[in-house]
Chain length 337, copies 4
Amino acid sequence: MIVVMKPGASQQQVDHVIDRIEQLGLRSHVIVGTERTVVAALGEKRDGAKQALETGEGVEKVVPILAPFKMASTEVKKDRTEVNVLGLSVGGKKIGVMAGPCSVESRSQIIDVAHIVREAGATALRGGAFKPRTSPYSFQGLKETGLQLLAEARDQTGLAIVTEVMAPEQVALVAQYADILQVGARNMQNYPLLEVAGESGLPILLKRGPSATMEEFLLAAEYILKTGNTQVMLCERGIRTFEDHTRFTLPLATVPYLHQTTHLPVVVDPSHGTGKASLVATMARAAVAAGADGLMVEIHPDPEKALSDGFQALTPPAFRQLMVDCRRVAVAVDREM
Amino acid sequence: MIVVMKPGASQQQVDHVIDRIEQLGLRSHVIVGTERTVVAALGEKRDGAKQALETGEGVEKVVPILAPFKMASTEVKKDRTEVNVLGLSVGGKKIGVMAGPCSVESRSQIIDVAHIVREAGATALRGGAFKPRTSPYSFQGLKETGLQLLAEARDQTGLAIVTEVMAPEQVALVAQYADILQVGARNMQNYPLLEVAGESGLPILLKRGPSATMEEFLLAAEYILKTGNTQVMLCERGIRTFEDHTRFTLPLATVPYLHQTTHLPVVVDPSHGTGKASLVATMARAAVAAGADGLMVEIHPDPEKALSDGFQALTPPAFRQLMVDCRRVAVAVDREM
Amino acid sequence: MIVVMKPGASQQQVDHVIDRIEQLGLRSHVIVGTERTVVAALGEKRDGAKQALETGEGVEKVVPILAPFKMASTEVKKDRTEVNVLGLSVGGKKIGVMAGPCSVESRSQIIDVAHIVREAGATALRGGAFKPRTSPYSFQGLKETGLQLLAEARDQTGLAIVTEVMAPEQVALVAQYADILQVGARNMQNYPLLEVAGESGLPILLKRGPSATMEEFLLAAEYILKTGNTQVMLCERGIRTFEDHTRFTLPLATVPYLHQTTHLPVVVDPSHGTGKASLVATMARAAVAAGADGLMVEIHPDPEKALSDGFQALTPPAFRQLMVDCRRVAVAVDREM
Amino acid sequence: MIVVMKPGASQQQVDHVIDRIEQLGLRSHVIVGTERTVVAALGEKRDGAKQALETGEGVEKVVPILAPFKMASTEVKKDRTEVNVLGLSVGGKKIGVMAGPCSVESRSQIIDVAHIVREAGATALRGGAFKPRTSPYSFQGLKETGLQLLAEARDQTGLAIVTEVMAPEQVALVAQYADILQVGARNMQNYPLLEVAGESGLPILLKRGPSATMEEFLLAAEYILKTGNTQVMLCERGIRTFEDHTRFTLPLATVPYLHQTTHLPVVVDPSHGTGKASLVATMARAAVAAGADGLMVEIHPDPEKALSDGFQALTPPAFRQLMVDCRRVAVAVDREM
């Protein structure tokens, strides 16, 4: 850490900072510049020290040098993490595709979609059984029945099942049926949930919160990694900005940024990332070009009759076309799909 | 709802929209304009209909007319909600002040702070026992021990206790000790938590998520109200924007906006809202002038040694001054404090 | 427009709205719903009427139906606009690439870069002579000398010259040397500049302001189109959000959105859009996959010695590789480059 | 500046950074930490050096220590700047109020408003003659005629005139009539305009751009100060965020932040800052409580008939009440109005 003193900070204030640094078990190193004094704290610990120092009298700011996450960092683990579940592979040369409806609505709906997904070449089925809905008056999901239907769809198709878990006490139940637990954007910083989900041992798809920085996103992943579960996929699904022509703003630069910063694979969700069916296929292609390790796409046999988020779901033919088009882009960036 | 058709939409597409409106149990009303056709859907339901219609062929957009929340709305309940717990009153003429440390750290710390808070004239004590921390390497709170210390502080001072609850399974425990349950900003859309917290029957302080719209905020409150618990306080604590000189951006216009839109009282947290001790007192005054029904302020006997968020905590003398200054502003806007 | 009345609005208030609509030369049409009355105003004008109506007593909001831009709209002009200048083509099957340094710094620098750009297969040279710099203490450009050097580079290479114009009184001078006038992001809503630049008759590259909505962006283009100049290229260069790992957030969904909304071609600038050299090439590929009609890329023979924005400039070898990689993606989406 | 090397940066890369620092005329100071090497650059220049260093091989980031603005800084000038024009005083104990219509529309409108403004106790009249309008189809102002009417209003009332200037070539004309030149939010980074406006010698009201950071805002002021004109007022008028219930988000914490950072006075515009007449008065009170040195408020004799921005204009009685209410808050924070 670098402690920047205010202009005109007294020697006593500088000495106090030095004392505090040493009490924190760090070494101090003073640099007297032309306009400011700066004190470096060496051997830096990752937490608490920064804020302990920045409340000192005469301190202008404290600049951390080390990233606060460890286990997610490429500095700690050089080789890339690859998640393999049934036929789904995310993080290697092959791009994994998880597709399905926003919500499981009925047996026929989910079974039909599963076959469509499989035939188009995707290898995982997404579908919500426990649904976090902005309004309490909206459809809240089929709950355990939905999980059973997902499991039946897996039995028929061999697709890995990805479904959301919303509370720690749901984890055990959902883990009986699912192959991958999804932690949704609204719950990215629901730490009790991250811990219990991590302890399940199942691969976790962690969605970025709509106002989370990369540091917060990786620290949320760190909560899971700290349980000993190394199977974490990061999912970019759009952030909240002033833009009003899309539901969220999908910042694809997070894909190469995360590839430089962490060994965890990166999935992109162009359905939530745009909130408009007419933009999904194009953004799926862009995500593949940006290096995404996986795609998560909402499809529905009849979007107009969907019980949730129909406006962003692709029809089966549109999804098949997306797969064809994305495969061409994948090849152009030396990937497979 | 108003369904706006695309330019050149066919009669068949318009007819399809009319059919869908009627299948949804609504009445339709067609208006043929110079450049577009618009179909109004009357008798509107609050959920599902909008998205069912906006996926239709030839539909450009669907504009809702009614707000999606009901029980929180001034349209449904005209008189203002007032929360009274021990000496704390929020929502009436008197402005309630909840102050205390970010985290309960030790018996002496919380008992000392409680006396400072009480002597300065505040009527509730805040303090975290279960702490949601961005990093898993940060101090996570004293948990039940922290709750016991808070209860002891109440016994000595008569202050109402406000403390955070992070997961549904913590609610029963926390409710044994606390007078008011706080749902933190990270959990504003943690719906299982909102429901279980609501069912406790205790007053709830619901903090706005840093990227939540007013509609989302009020719908989160609606989850609590729907359990039959009417004691909900809305807390503005800052939103995430591009600004980098404060931790969050504190948008005080939400106070008068919420006063026009909902009967629920509005609390402002200038500590999280700015993230800088040097800005807290001024923003507390501004919040009072904006009509806040309550303030939530972080204080610490020795901010430099705080285990969390010391950079935004006021010292006891600074807090006493804040109370004096805010009282003057309160009187100038016909309130008391 | 649709005028939504407040719940409980009086008949007198509704009648007043109807009168105002008729005074504005529009037809009114009243719809009485279960909870609100709504008045449609037909034959809608594009300006002023909305705000005249929304200040009426008892009016809750006014919802416009028509987009406020005309000449930029695909509703008005169905065929796509193509800009062709010297060898540069933007808006057709071929993707145009404009590359060069942030600032023209010296004769050798710009001539060298021009040859590099040409050899790598790009068809326009960018370079700033008049530089808008955030700080008055930063290098402000070589001004007319810079323009002369750009013209010399064109003479040697045949590349079209794109350079920025910052004020109406600079337009005549810049137009003597440049093939395309760039209006920078900071000046997107500098209307006197848009008008004078438009009147030059040269093609205009209009950069999106970092907090401009699509509607504001297209209305800025409309200022140029209104001068009779139809050669407008829209350039997405990133928006300002809370993200701090990139300089701006590059929202590529604007590319397909604009393709659906306007006939004007869309260029993407991944250099400003990310502000980090290490992310530029990946985002250039993603932009091509998203359907960009052109790319604008900063390169510098020695980024470390650049007088401005070196941190986001590619080296010549990196740029050559970008061209190779983007060409493969272009082919995969049925384009050429 | 502090240059943070990447983990594993080679000695050669560190040496290269040291060389560059010395070539830039700075002194270097190396600190070898447990995980990173850090190189401090002392005697720091305010421009160019940062970016020259951050493009170096092996460099992770460069952290500036000094703020990039000088003349606006409280480090350079300790006493507060006070702007006095006719009866208007901004920056001292008295809070200046500038009120008037968005646009000058007619002789009777502006003369009437001027008398209302004066009688309510405000000391400056605002009104637009050259109007920057988002749409080219909107009313663009009365131009010189508008200026003449403003001057006539001054002659009748003694109010100082504040009006916007949009382009360098308009400055001479506007300066003939106005007492204070306003540089609008869209033009905050229109550097040629800032320079020419500064050279007029008139006091400048500089509005914050809707996505400008404090650093950018102060650097824009620096462009004016550098011309030798010290009469600069900073105006907070709201920023663009995801919030959709107000036109902009008004972040009042900028008031105390600017008071700590610069000696320039700070004006708040609650009309643009909220975009809703029903929120203006409350936010004006909050601005006064936050320490604003001035207020800028839009009023109109008949908002419903305003040619621009009627939705955010106060009626004359509402403005009189605002003045009464704000005066009470001013007294409560030891100011006058």
